[in-house]
């Protein structure tokens, strides 16, 4: 049998190997978007793809700088962000409250679930005409559209979260005489929080999808509006700036929510 010299040395090498592999994986994650941009730049500049439809990333960046300097970009970002944040909160807060009630009280759950199941498949965007009639062309209609699409994943995940709480924790609360209010705040809310946050994460993604489409259809400002008007005027560089902004904000919100998740769930 071949005798390896030093057991500690062997494990140290093994550990180094794993470290290197980890570094390689991180490197790949950072590299993949850059790689895509590089290919795009090359294809566009060499004329292999039509630069009128796919302007090279460097050109998009300089357009981005121009729009930023003129203040136009800031204006659109501002109105989109307001709508997203307001609509998000307007969807998430009732979603959590109604979800907790449904999870805790079976009669509420049985009364509301068919309604939610029936309403959920209707895309909020298909309701936009009705929403425009009720809430007008102003900010209200956009905020309500987003709230409507955020609400459903949040409420469904919150119910699932409450229902999934191990029954032994309910027994503990009952045995130690928890009041209705304490039961709500100390058991149902923290117990369902992990699954609820997954729903909020999903809602966030849907909010972005919805805002762009809603602004394309019925707005005079916002990133979606900018994408649509640029496209109509064949200003494709401007259009790409809008698309990249959406992707950037989606990524940013995901990171923020992950951070919030870590902060709110130290016990996981």
């Amino acid at each position: 049998m071949k005798d390896l010299k030093n057991p500690v040395e062997t494990e140290k090498q093994e550990w180094r190997k794993q470290k290197n592999q980890q570094r390689l994986k991180t490197g790949l994650t950072v590299f993949s978007p850059l790689f895509l941009l590089l290919i795009w730049q090359f294809l566009s500049q060499s004329g292999l793809i039509d630069a009128r439809f796919f302007p090279p990333p460097t050109a998009i960046v300089s357009t981005f700088a121009q729009l930023l300097a003129s203040g136009e970009l800031f204006y659109h970002i501002n109105s989109s962000l307001f709508r997203i944040v307001a609509g998000f909160l307007l969807g998430v807060i009732p979603g959590i409250l109604i979800g907790l009630c449904m999870g805790l009280y079976a009669p509420v759950r049985h009364f509301l679930s068919p309604l939610i199941m029936a309403l959920m498949p209707i895309p909020t965007l298909a309701l936009l005409p009705i929403i425009l009639i009720i809430f007008g062309i102003g900010e209200g209609s956009k905020v309500v559209t987003i709230a409507g699409s955020v609400f459903f994943p949040v409420v469904i995940n919150t119910v699932a979260g409450v229902v999934s709480i191990d029954s032994i924790y309910l027994d503990v609360a009952k045995n130690y005489g928890a009041s209705k209010k304490d039961f709500f705040l100390k058991i149902a809310f923290p117990g369902s929080l992990p699954v609820m946050l997954e729903g909020i994460q999903m809602g966030q993604a849907i909010a972005l999808l919805t805002i762009v489409a809603a602004e394309m259809m019925g707005a005079r400002s916002g990133i979606g509006y900018m994408i649509w008007t640029s496209y109509s005027a064949f200003l494709l560089k401007e259009m790409f700036v809008g698309l990249i902004l959406i992707s950037f904000f989606g990524y940013l919100f995901s990171l923020l929510l992950r951070g919030l998740q870590r902060k709110l769930l130290p016990w996981r």
């Binding site: 027994d171 503990v172 009952k174 045995n175 005489g177 923290p190 016990w267 996981r268």
Partner: protein, 259 residues
Amino acid sequence: MSRNTKIVIRDLTKVFYKKEQSITAIRNISLDIKEGEFVCIVGPSGCGKTTLLRILAGLEKQSSGGFRIEKSSMHRPNQSMVFQERGVLPWLTVRENVAFGLRMRHLPKEQIQERTNFFLSKVGLTKFAHMYPKELSGGMKQRVSIARAFANDPEILLMDEPFGALDEQNRHILQEELLSIWSETKKTVLFITHSIDEALYLSDRVLLMSAQPGQIVQELQIDLPRPRTLKDIRANPDMAEQFLAIWQHLQTEVQQSRS
């Protein structure tokens, strides 16, 4: 030594009914437990011992019969339960878990603080007070559970196989700790186990249960002086006899349930 009766159980019966089928989990259990007594219930699994405890804990309603827990003070809760493993709330820290019962009763802050600290140090968890249960071993989690129950200062303590999931060494350490806290607080304890050693080591009285329907078929007085050691039990010929008696009872019960 005549002590007051603390728990009176009369003709307690629980039937589970489902789809035209009924199973009698426990039938006509009558029982008196004295103040400060440590009583173990031993029986084969599925004999309804947990059902009995859950009825006393207010988690299940009896089908007929009744029970009474004598009150010594208006401010004391009737009972607190130490659950099988997993009874510790994962989203609360060790300290918050121990304080849970007191917080649910909305006692003054200083009092909660003081009692929590006292029982944290009793079970040796002061250093771990800020940790979450996921960072604790199984034995430490059960210490949290025990501290939570004692801190609540109830009239009686109910324990549902609290050490069932622990390894032999840890189990014995926790048994010792439990006895030491118990001897200081003089609580009345009803303890469920299927370990004969555990029952002999801990209790003043052992009740044997039979399965389906769950009934108390025999009771054994354990008169060994306290504090006891495991060696006392192993060395004592009477205890060896008791052990065999219980063993034989369990054996026949298990065989009956198979045939």
